[in-house]
Amino acid sequence: MIYEGEFLKDAISKLLADGYRVFAPSRVGDFHVFREISSAEEADFNYILPRNSAKVAVFPQNEILIEYGDWIERVPMEEKRIAIVGVRACDAKAIKLLDKHFLEGFVDPYYKSRREKLLTIAIACNNALINCFCQSLGINPRKPEADVVVSEIDGRVFVSADTEIGKSFLQGFNLRNENEEELEIKKRFESEELKMREIRVDVEKLKKSFDSPYWKEVAINCKSCGVCTYLCPTCFCFDIYDEGEKRGVRIRTWDSCQFPLHTLESSSHNPRAEKWQRLRNRFYDKFYYTLRKGNYYCVGCGRCIDFCPAGIDIVNAISEVR
């Protein structure tokens, strides 16, 4: 359907009025970050990808699991509905992958409390960034998987909903049906491939290359920082610890397999003591280990390439494995 006006901004105003917590791209200096906003003006849609990913809305960097004194005093759970507005196809797909991780098998109640009340409004990509490679991972950047999808084509705003929650949200808007020509335009838009990088994944080769000296070579300049994993929309590792001896909080925070302490065991043994082992772990966790959940856990957003201070490039590393 077609909307006359700025759909994303109007959607934010409606969501806020309906009592949602709204996460949207907001401008900081020359770039954008996904963060919680309290008015439509705080959002800015002149962007392709925000620096951080939309996962902050469902998997925050810190969260309190338990408040304790002599005994458990409070278990805070998300009570409000959450909306992510302006998510791209890659980040939208990543949320589906986080769902598999946190909701299949062992169900994470904290994640669930946010996820079951989540509304996602995605925007189709007109162009790709320099390190985008989503298409080679089977994602169509022009047809994101979300509750509501917005595409801006030649000045027209197309809006569609595939899910029940999306359809019922759209009922509050004044939309008109597309005419024949517009339907055609949209169809063409969705089937056009964007120009972008491609990754070649050869799982059999990955399996055989686990002990290859190649990984040492790739990792030689790696700094073991948290950039790649913290910015990654699908990375789900966390740490839990208590703050406060007699009274306090049990906190969950993001953690990264690139930090040496991530796998340090209490016996002092560290199965991934060397940085090349840790970097290899990240690559295998994206393209091999997670296959048991049925998917690659990379959506091709390219953030880990853009912001790696050492210039390590997952597309090259995986495509050229030997």
Partner: protein
Amino acid sequence: MNEIEKIKDALKSSNAEKIVAFVRKESEPREVLKVLSPNEVDKISFSPLSLNNPAKLLMQINGKVAVVAKGCDSMAIRQLIKEGKLKRENLFIVGISCKGVVDYRKLAKFVNLSEVNDVELNGNDLVLKLKNGEKRIPFLEVVDENCLYCGHPTPVIYDVLIGEPREGKRDFSDIEQFERLSREERWNYWISQFERCIRCHACRSVCPLCYCEECMVDPSNLAVSPMSTPEEKASYPRILGKTVNARDNTIYHLLRVLHHAGRCVGCGECERACPMELPLRMLERKLEKVVVEIFGYDLNEDIPFFSKLDIVGD
């Protein structure tokens, strides 16, 4: 002979077992540091996009290594020699008299980077060789701001020097300007910056001087051994958790930066690495100003700052 040929010649003359230098990526003009063997010398590149500091990489390599170093890179190498982390006799330093490097994120605003094949400085312009055609941008619009305050564009230690020596100057004018703001304004400014930090620790991890295996900003200590009792493990000092908020991030940055007193060489790696674009150099430069003005220490002195404090203390 142009600059790059001179660098290659110098590297070839070094008899080193390994070479640490820049190689350009294929998909974008970004240059990354690589460890090469001598027969790969023709792969190297050097340009205003040779941003990173190779000093940290050198600490991983045994044996004789040849390295391409700009002014600030050489400062870091000299500092690591001073601190006993590198051996002068193992290094062959090809020093480059530096005219400044590009801020890659600024450059991205001017041009689609995947169209750029090569960049070069020509007078006051950065000349971009594009897939089709050429584009000139005034260098000042894309230069890394850090380079504007560079005190040592000419390497302070080298075996071969390439380019004419250039004067640097110590300039704290921006810091002085900031100092004139009220305490409250300065506090609010920093809190609004620290709030944004995601504590990826990249600023710490890329710093050539942050080589400690146990870093005090890490949430627990590596010094657990099979002999440690549960009580010891539970009570290991933890200065900071992994919680990310303006308060904890402030502590993180103050601790980190204080450890660089009289050591920070001004290469700008911290700020360049930061995905959230925090003005980290400003913190380090304020510290440098204090070290110079209050303690009268100069980085060019042979003795490390902390050792000098000990002597003065006696």
